[in-house]
C-alpha cells in the first residue's frame, strides 16, 4: 500500500471512529434521560422523545434524502450530459420546504394526540385497519432492505475505487459503525450523527468545486474547454437527447412524490416545537439547494479537467461512476481526498441509519407491540409496566442489529430478489405511501378501502411498467403510476364505507 493510500484510509478511519464514539455517547446520554424522564423507551428509541431542534431537523431531513447518488452517480451523469442534469437536480430545491410545510404541523399534532412514532402508527390511527398496517409495514421493510443494500454497495464500491482495497473492508469499516450506533442509540443517535454527516457533505461540496475550478483555471477557461469537448453541454435538453417529458417526470419522482417517503415524512413527528420547524424549513432549503447545485455543477465542469479516455469503459460505454473517484485521486492530496470521500460515505450512512431504525420500528412497534404484545390501555400504563418496557428495549436493539446484519450479508452476496426489488424501491415507496398520507391528512372521506385499492394499483402498475419499460408520452413510469394510485384511492374511498365515528375523525379534522 502506498503512503497516499495509508494517509487517505487513516483520515476515513478517524472519521468513522468519531462517528462511532459520538453515536455511542449520544446513546448513553439518551439512556440516562430515559431513566430520569420516564417518557418511555419506545418514544425515545424510535422518535427521540420529539426533541429535535431546527438545525438537527433540517440536517437529518437532508442527510436522509441525499444518498450516494447525489455525490457519485449524479455528478457522473452530469459529466456526460451537461447542464441538463443540474437543471433536473434543482427540482429538489423545495424538498425540505414541501415536506415540512405540508406534513410538519399536522403530523406533529396528530402524533402527540395518538402517541404515534411511525408513519404506520398514523395510518393505523387514521384508517383503523389491520390490513393497512400490515401491508404498510411489509412494504416498508422490503423496500428499505433493498435500498439499504444498494446504499451499502454504492459506498463500498466507492471505497474500493478510491483506496484499491477490496470493498469488503470498506463495508466492514462504515457498515459496522452505522449498524452499531443505530442499534444502541436509536433515533437520537441517528439524527445527531446525521447532523455531523450533513455538515461533512456541505464541506465535501466546497472541496470538489474548489478543486475543479482551481485546476481548470477558473470558470471562463473551463467553459471554453467544455465548448470544444462537448458542444451540447450548455443546453437544457443535451442538444435534444434528453427529452422534456423525461425531465418533467422528476417533478413527480423527486418533487411532489417525496411527500410519500416514510423516511422523510416521519421527521414531521420528531421535532420539538413550531419554531424548530420554521428554522428547519429555512436551513433545509438553503442546504439542499446548495448540495444539488454544487455537486452536479462540479460534474458538468469535470470534463475540462478529466478526459473521458481516463475513465474505464463497459461494452464501449464510459462508466461515469468513476468520474468523482478519479478526480479525487488525480488532483487531491490524501488528507483532502479523505475528507472529501467522507462526504459520500456520510450520505450513505445517514440514509442507512434512518432506514434501519424505521425497518426496526416497523417490526417491533407496528407489528409486535400492535398485534402480539400484551395490550395496554394507554402509554402511561405501557411505561408503568417495567418488565414489558425492558423486554421491548432488548427486542428493539436486537431487531435493529439483526436487520443490519441481514443487509450486511445481502450486500456481500446480493440475492436476486432484493436486487430486483431495489429497482422499484424509491418509486414503490411513493406509490405505496403518498396517497394514504396526503389524503389521510387532508381528505375526510378517505378510508381503508381506498388505501388498499390504491396501494395495489399503484405498486402493481409501477412494477409492471418499469419491468416492461413502458413510457407513456416519454414520461417515466412513476408519473402514470402515481396518477393511477390517486384515482384508485378516490374510487376505492367512495366504494368503501365511511365507517367512522365522528369523534375519531374530529381528531384529524377539528374544523
Amino acid at each position: 500500500m502506498s503512503k497516499y493510500n495509508i494517509t487517505l484510509i487513516s483520515v476515513l478511519v478517524i472519521y468513522m471512529a468519531f462517528n462511532f464514539i459520538f453515536g455511542m455517547w449520544v446513546s448513553k446520554k439518551q439512556e440516562r434521560l430515559d431513566a430520569s424522564e420516564g417518557t418511555g423507551f419506545i418514544n425515545n428509541y424510535f422518535i427521540g422523545g420529539r426533541s429535535m431542534g431546527g438545525l438537527v431537523l433540517a440536517m437529518t431531513l437532508i442527510a436522509t434524502f441525499t444518498s450516494a447518488s447525489s455525490f457519485v452517480g449524479g455528478p457522473g451523469i452530469a459529466y456526460s450530459k451537461g447542464l441538463v442534469w443540474v437543471f433536473l437536480s434543482m427540482i429538489q430545491v423545495p424538498t425540505a420546504f414541501l415536506i415540512l410545510s405540508v406534513l410538519g404541523k399536522k403530523f406533529a399534532i396528530i402524533a402527540r394526540k395518538t402517541d404515534a412514532v411511525t408513519v404506520t402508527d398514523f395510518l393505523s390511527a387514521r384508517y383503523k385497519s389491520p390490513v393497512v398496517v400490515i401491508a404498510a409495514s411489509v412494504a416498508m421493510v422490503l423496500f428499505f432492505l433493498a435500498q439499504m443494500m444498494s446504499q451499502f454497495l454504492g459506498g463500498a464500491i466507492l471505497f474500493q475505487s478510491v483506496t484499491g482495497l477490496s470493498y469488503i473492508y470498506g463495508l466492514i469499516l462504515f457498515g459496522v459503525v452505522v449498524i452499531v450506533y443505530t442499534s444502541f442509540g436509536g433515533f437520537k443517535a441517528v439524527v445527531t450523527t446525521d447532523t455531523i454527516q450533513g455538515i461533512i457533505m456541505v464541506i465535501g461540496g466546497f472541496i470538489i468545486m474548489g478543486t475543479i475550478i482551481h485546476v481548470g483555471g477558473g470558470v471562463d477557461s473551463i467553459v471554453d474547454k467544455l465548448n470544444t469537448v462537448n458542444p451540447s453541454w450548455a443546453t437544457p435538453d443535451q442538444g435534444g437527447v434528453t427529452a422534456k417529458p423525461y425531465v418533467m417526470s422528476f417533478w413527480i419522482l423527486v418533487g411532489l412524490g417525496v411527500l410519500g417517503l416514510p423516511q422523510t415524512a416521519v421527521r414531521g413527528m420528531g421535532f420539538k416545537d413550531t419554531k424548530s420547524m420554521h428554522n428547519a424549513i429555512i436551513y433545509g432549503t438553503i442546504v439542499v439547494g446548495f448540495l444539488m447545485l454544487i455537486m452536479h455543477l462540479a460534474g458538468v465542469f469535470a470534463p475540462a479537467v478529466l478526459d473521458s479516455s481516463e475513465l474505464p469503459t463497459t461494452n464501449g460505454v464510459i462508466n461515469t461512476d468513476y468520474v468523482i473517484p478519479n478526480l479525487v485521486l488525480k488532483y487531491m492530496n490524501p488528507v483532502v481526498a479523505g475528507l472529501f470521500i467522507a462526504a459520500p460515505l456520510s450520505a450513505v450512512m445517514s440514509t442507512i441509519s434512518s432506514l434501519l431504525i424505521l425497518a426496526s420500528a416497523a417490526i417491533v412497534k407496528d407489528i409486535y407491540v400492535n398485534y402480539i404484545a400484551p395490550k395496554h390501555k394507554n402509554v402511561q400504563e405501557e411505561i408503568a409496566d417495567k418488565p414489558f418496557e425492558k423486554k421491548v428495549r432488548a427486542m428493539s436493539i436486537i431487531t435493529t442489529l439483526i436487520v443490519g446484519a441481514i443487509v450486511f450479508i445481502f450486500t456481500i452476496n446480493p440475492p436476486s430478489l432484493i436486487v430486483w426489488i431495489n429497482l422499484f424501491a424509491f418509486g414503490g415507496l411513493e406509490c405505496t405511501f403518498l396517497c394514504p398520507i396526503i389524503f389521510g391528512l387532508y381528505w375526510k372521506r378517505a378510508n381503508a378501502t381506498g388505501v388498499i385499492v390504491s396501494m395495489m394499483c399503484g405498486i402493481g402498475s409501477f412494477v409492471f411498467m418499469s419491468a416492461k419499460g413502458i413510457m407513456i408520452g416519454g414520461t417515466t413510469p412513476i408519473v402514470l403510476s402515481i396518477g393511477i394510485a390517486i384515482v384508485a384511492f378516490v374510487v376505492g374511498s367512495f366504494i368503501g364505507k365511511a365507517d367512522y365515528d365522528k369523534k375519531s375523525l374530529q381528531m384529524f379534522f377539528p374544523e
Binding site: L83, V86, F87, M90, I91, V93, P94, F97, L98, S101, V102, K105, K106, A108, I109, R112, V219, D220, I222, V223, P231, S232, A234, T235, P236, D237, K244, W251, L256, K272, D273, T274, K275, H278, I281, I282, T285, I286, G289, L293, Y442, F509, P510, E511
Partner: protein
C-alpha cells in the same frame, strides 16, 4: 395570550387547523411558482442554438436564471413566507383541552 412551556401561544383546535391550512395552501402556491419560473426560464430561454445564447459569469442565461437565481430566489421567498405567514403555536395543548377539563370539573 396563554403560552405553553416552549413559549408558544396556545390556540383553539379550530384556529390551529385554519392556520395549518393557510400554510399548506401558500406552500403549494410557492411550489407552483418555483415550477413555473424553472420551466419558463429553463426551456423558454434555452430552446435556441447554444451559439446564440447570452452568457453570464460563463454560464448560459437560461441556466443562470432558472437554477441559480431560482434557487436564491426560492430561499429568499422561503425566509419571507416563514417569517410573515407561518405562525408559532403550541403543538401539545389547545384551548379546547382546557375547556373540556373545565366542563368536566363543573359536572362533578
Amino acid at each position: 395570550m396563554k403560552k405553553d412551556s416552549y413559549g408558544a401561544p396556545i390556540l383553539t383546535e379550530k384556529e390551529r387547523a385554519h392556520q395549518i391550512k393557510k400554510e399548506a395552501t401558500i406552500s403549494m402556491i410557492m411550489y407552483a411558482a418555483f415550477f413555473l419560473w424553472w420551466y419558463f426560464t429553463g426551456y423558454g430561454l434555452g430552446s435556441g442554438d447554444p451559439k446564440d445564447y447570452t452568457y453570464i459569469f460563463g454560464l448560459p442565461m437560461w441556466f443562470f436564471l432558472s437554477c441559480i437565481v431560482g434557487y436564491v430566489g426560492f430561499c429568499v421567498a422561503t425566509i419571507i413566507v416563514v417569517k410573515k405567514v407561518f405562525k408559532n403555536f403550541s403543538l401539545e395543548e389547545s384551548l379546547d383541552d382546557e375547556m373540556e377539563a373545565k366542563a368536566g370539573d363543573q359536572n362533578e
